[in-house]
Amino acid sequence: MYDIRESLTAHTVEEALSLLSTHEGMIPAAGGTDILIKVRERKLKAVSLVSILGIPELNTISMGEDGSICIGPVCCFTRITEDPLIMENVPMLGEACRQIGSPQIRNVATIGGNICNGAVSADSVTPLYALDAILTLRSVKGERCIPIREFHTGPGKTVRNPDELLTMIRIPKESFAKHGSCYIKFGQRKAMEIATLGCAVNVSLSEDKTKICSAAIAYGVAAPTPVRCTETETLLTGMTIGPELFKTAREHVTAELQPRDSWRASKELRIQLIKELVVRALKSAVIRAGGEVD
């Protein structure tokens, strides 16, 4: 039932890039959990695939010399959730990855695929927005690094050129050192679920843990792409932790988002979730950063 014209395997990044540059329409495949569904649904026809799953350098998690966390794009979600470096430094990302699909899906689906597929509901992507991750894209012509916040352009759309491969996801040290963060996924059930809404909050606090030094608020499924609420973030910066902080977050985020009315969820529900989740995620992030909330 799968209309696959050809399926090749690349063993090195160079091999993959060469195939992508010479075979028009060829799609890099890792876990295949999104691609196979599209093939089955006939959204992709007579498809050519190149597997990048077996490229060792894309399957690593390490700390760079500058203290940043470097994640290879074909790391599967199970690997990420079990990695000590991730769980110690960016636990929010591990927790988000643990909520994706089922154990079977998490054993094959990869973080790179989640990013490049461009779904607005991608659970690993919203936290990466709040962590200001940097993506490295390579092609036979060269390499470029872009902030993840500039990567997605619309539902299923990204700035990645067809001949480019995502080769690295880097989380800068200043995004997680002395920070507290939290991702909340709202789905209708507790597993095997697509997010109705996702909210990631990443904060750092003042020395005495009573004020917000920096705040990053990201949402999934609240606009055509994952988004940051930068205006609200600015408002929160410097505020004292207390009811006024949470009220401000709650009242201002919706203005920066474009929740839709659809058969999957009403606009009324989405707005309520947007308001409620930011407060819950912010409280949790503050606590994790060493602050106290009532």
Partner: protein, 778 residues
């Protein structure tokens, strides 16, 4: 081992190891595959079909269109044959149709050498339609100028209307209505409840294949009623019943959805047209949602008026059932629901029932676990809580005052209640859930807690087991002895995951004293060999078919005793079976083993004595019915700002009579209960209101509960003795689903004070309702 024991499932090993073969596992290697061209409109006509491109595509053997199929209509319902024309099922289906009645209706079929080739070619079939506006609700459809089936010019498939006085119904015919007043009366303004269409989501998608063997068409299918699908298929093709052989191997769940005839006539026709080559059709999950069967959506308007002491004076109901595109069971299900409403609680003065089932442009609704009763129990039990709340009564005491008791005579079928464990079920449920204390505790908690609310709610049901006297209740069984005292048991009824084969083995073992591991219940029904059966539905397998097994086993027992008596010259009335031996009652002495008797009569050779292969065969007919009872108590929390229900625990207490296999019974309750929780909280089939196009016919968007969503479940049984059951047993397949939705709803009501009138109670519905009630502020 016998009955009232936790015998290990007879099919456990095969199913756990994957050895068990299902239809898809058995498709011959050289089979051709069908891909159906589904309509892209919900209502209208096929003007023309261009198959030229598809016919040229690689691997294509045939493209069959709606203009190439037999012109007569046939029945699809998995019901026994009714010799009374007034009760005959509706003939309204063609194998492929030019009159499109739902989005996805079958207009053409492509046959190719591989599933992919069939799929690619199906995309090349060009269909031109005359599109009509979809009629998606009973209100849209009934009396609309656009006629969906000529046999029902007003699009109303069926009605059942009556008043009950002195325990006797008087039938009439009411007009279709959506008004708040029932029977046009201002004193009978009811509360409106709505339930959505849902799908059974059985694990194994519908699949079938057919080939010819001489003049005979052999159809392998995962159908719950093999003998009925044989008749319906034969009628669809216009050939003798004996020219169709249906084989049902292991079956991966059905819940009623596989009771009907779906694609068996198509593959049978295709093999006939292709010279007998094997043709297979396997539904995708998306097709199983839309192209098989759903549960009827009901609009229910109900009234329950008590006096000041809490005794019901008036009860009235109007059901407008959405039957979808083809009749299937619509008439029967709606009738069963409207009558059931008057069987649990009895009003003293006046009882009025009105019901209608509409043809609409939705997928066909038919049998699904509970057969119309999950809908009506939901509305009825919600209303019982609402009325009690309004009057400040304890909802359980209010129910107790009005529910029927032992000796109750069913106004419709006239059977008498001979076993009644409902009161004890309620009592047990109260004890287990600590009802009074916990309700008070939660009331106090909810006074001060704004965002988190706690609730304890309950619901109950009385469910009629057996379709007698409207339809026949019969079953047949054959037992074949082997020379070593082992035996094969042929039953026309089927195992579909519920454990029926095991229960039957236990029943035979109970009487024949042969342990289950020396008995083989033939799990594959082959209509050329298997004795007749109506099918696996109506929670009848142990209750009715169990009676056939008992009867055949008793015949075999008597035969063994008789032959032993003759052989050993001992009076037969002094003999009985004990541990696979024939022993004397008086002394307990062993006369012979069962094996010895079987071997002797089969092989004795003195040159002139006739031999005998020991077999027995019995048809059992039940002329009675019973009620299975049960309660559900649900303990939950509501996260108010997110509209999220967090189920903490469910206690289910059932009276299904005497249990044949307590462990399997408990498993049955677990499965049905979880299905009920999905019905309560998350499951619904959604359609585009403009086009009728299905929106969520996949397992991502149609939300069945996952293991993570299932709370702790505690199951208890009140074991009564039902004289009409073969061993005091009643049915249990459907009951566990029934009380869950109202129990969850009533617990949410207890927690939040907000009454809800529509399921599923999704976060969206709850957030909307909580905002309207002021529980969530901006």
């Amino acid at each position: 081992m016998g009955i009232r024991q936790n015998a290990k499932r007879v099919d456990a090993f095969q199913k756990v190891t994957g050895e068990a073969k299902y239809v898809e596992d058995l498709i011959p290697r050289d089979a051709l595959y069908v891909k159906i061209v589904h309509s892209t409109i919900a209502n209208g006509f096929v003007k023309s079909i261009d198959t030229s491109e598809a016919e040229k595509a690689p691997g294509v053997e045939m493209v069959l269109t709606c203009f190439d199929v037999p012109k007569h209509c046939y029945i699809t319902a998995g019901h026994p044959l009714s010799l009374d024309p007034a009760h005959e099922d509706v003939k309204d289906k063609h194998i492929l149709t030019s009159h499109v009645r739902y989005y996805g209706d079958d207009v053409a079929a492509v046959v190719a050498d591989t599933p992919l080739h069939a799929q690619l070619a199906a995309e090349l079939v060009r269909v031109e339609y005359e599109e009509h506006k979809p009629l998606l609700t009973p209100g849209d459809a009934i009396n609309a100028p656009d006629v969906l089936h000529d046999i029902r010019p007003n699009n109303e498939l069926s009605r059942m209307d009556f008043t009950i006085k002195d325990g006797k119904p008087t039938f009439g015919t009411a007009e279709f209505s959506t008004a708040p007043e029932i029977a046009g009366r201002a004193d009978l303004v009811g509360e409106q409840f709505h339930t959505p269409p849902v799908n059974a989501v059985h694990l194994e998608n519908h699949s079938c294949f057919a080939y010819m063997d001489g003049r005979k068409i052999v159809v392998y299918t995962c159908n719950q009623a093999p003998h009925t699908v044989r008749r319906n298929t034969a009628n669809a093709l216009g050939i003798p019943v004996g020219d169709v052989r249906v084989v049902k191997p292991y079956l991966g769940g059905g819940f009623g959805n596989k009771q009907d005839t779906v694609y068996e006539p198509l593959v049978a026709l295709l093999t006939q047209r292709l010279g007998g080559r094997c043709v297979a059709h396997i539904c995708t999950r998306e097709e199983t949602f839309i192209n098989t069967r759903t549960r009827h959506a009901f609009d229910m308007n109900i009234v329950s008026q008590p006096d000041k002491d809490g005794k019901l004076l008036k009860k009235a109901v109007r059901i407008n059932s959405n039957g979808g595109s083809y009749a299937a069971h619509g008439h029967a299900i709606t009738a069963f629901a409207v009558t059931t409403y008057f069987q649990t609680y009895i009003a003293q003065d006046e009882q009025i029932g009105e019901s209608s089932c509409a043809y609409t442009n939705l997928p066909t609704a038919a049998a699904m676990r509970g057969y119309g009763i999950p809908q009506i129990v939901y509305a009825m039990e919600c209303q019982m809580d609402d009325v009690a709340r309004e009057h400040g009564w304890d909802p359980i005491e209010f129910r107790r005052k009005n529910m029927h008791r032992e000796g109750f005579v069913d106004p419709f079928s006239g059977f008498v209640v001979k076993s009644f464990g409902l009161d004890d079920c309620i009592q047990k449920g109260c004890e287990l859930s600590n009802w009074k204390q916990k309700r008070a505790e939660y009331d106090a908690f909810n006074k001060t807690s704004k965002d988190l609310k706690k609730g304890l709610g309950m619901g109950l049901f009385a469910y009629k087991i057996s379709v007698w006297p409207l339809s026949i209740e019969n079953a047949a069984c054959r037992i074949i002895m082997n020379e070593d005292g082992t035996a094969q048991i042929h039953i026309g009824a089927i195992e579909l995951g519920q454990g029926a084969d095991t229960a039957w083995a236990q029943i035979a073992s109970e009487i024949l004293t042969i342990p289950e591991n020396r008995l083989t219940v033939i799990s594959t029904q082959d209509t050329d060999i298997a004795p007749y059966d109506n099918g696996a539905y109506a929670s009848r397998q142990t209750y009715v078919c169990g009676g056939a097994v008992r009867k055949a086993a008793e015949q075999m027992r008597d035969k063994l005793l008789d032959r032993a008596s003759k052989l050993k010259n001992v009076p037969a009335d002094d003999l009985c079976l004990d541990s696979e031996k024939i022993v004397t009652k008086s002394t307990g002495a062993t006369v012979a083993s069962i094996a010895e008797i079987c071997a002797h009569y089969n092989f004795f050779n003195d040159g002139f004595t006739d031999t005998e292969h020991l077999t027995s065969e019995a048809t059992y007919t039940l002329h009675d019915a019973s009620f299975a009872y049960g309660v559900s108590f649900v303990d939950l929390e509501v996260d108010v700002p997110l509209g999220k229900v967090n189920l903490k625990k469910v206690w289910a207490v059932h009276d299904s009579g005497t249990l044949i296999n307590p462990q399997l019974a408990e498993a049955q309750v677990h499965g049905g209960l979880v299905m009920g929780l999905g019905y309560a909280l998350s499951e619904q089939m959604l359609f585009d209101p403009k086009t009728g196009k299905p929106l969520n016919n996949n397992l991502l968007d149609y939300k069945i509960p996952t293991a993570m969503d299932v709370p702790e479940i505690e199951v208890h049984f009140i074991e009564t003795y039902e004289p009409s059951g073969p061993f005091g047993n009643k049915g249990l397949a459907e009951p566990p689903i029934l009380a869950q939705a109202p129990a969850v709803r009533n617990a949410i009501l207890h927690a939040t004070g907000v009454p809800l009138y529509e399921i599923p109670m999704t976060p969206q519905r709850l957030v909307h309702a909580f905002r309207a009630a002021g529980l969530i502020e901006d």
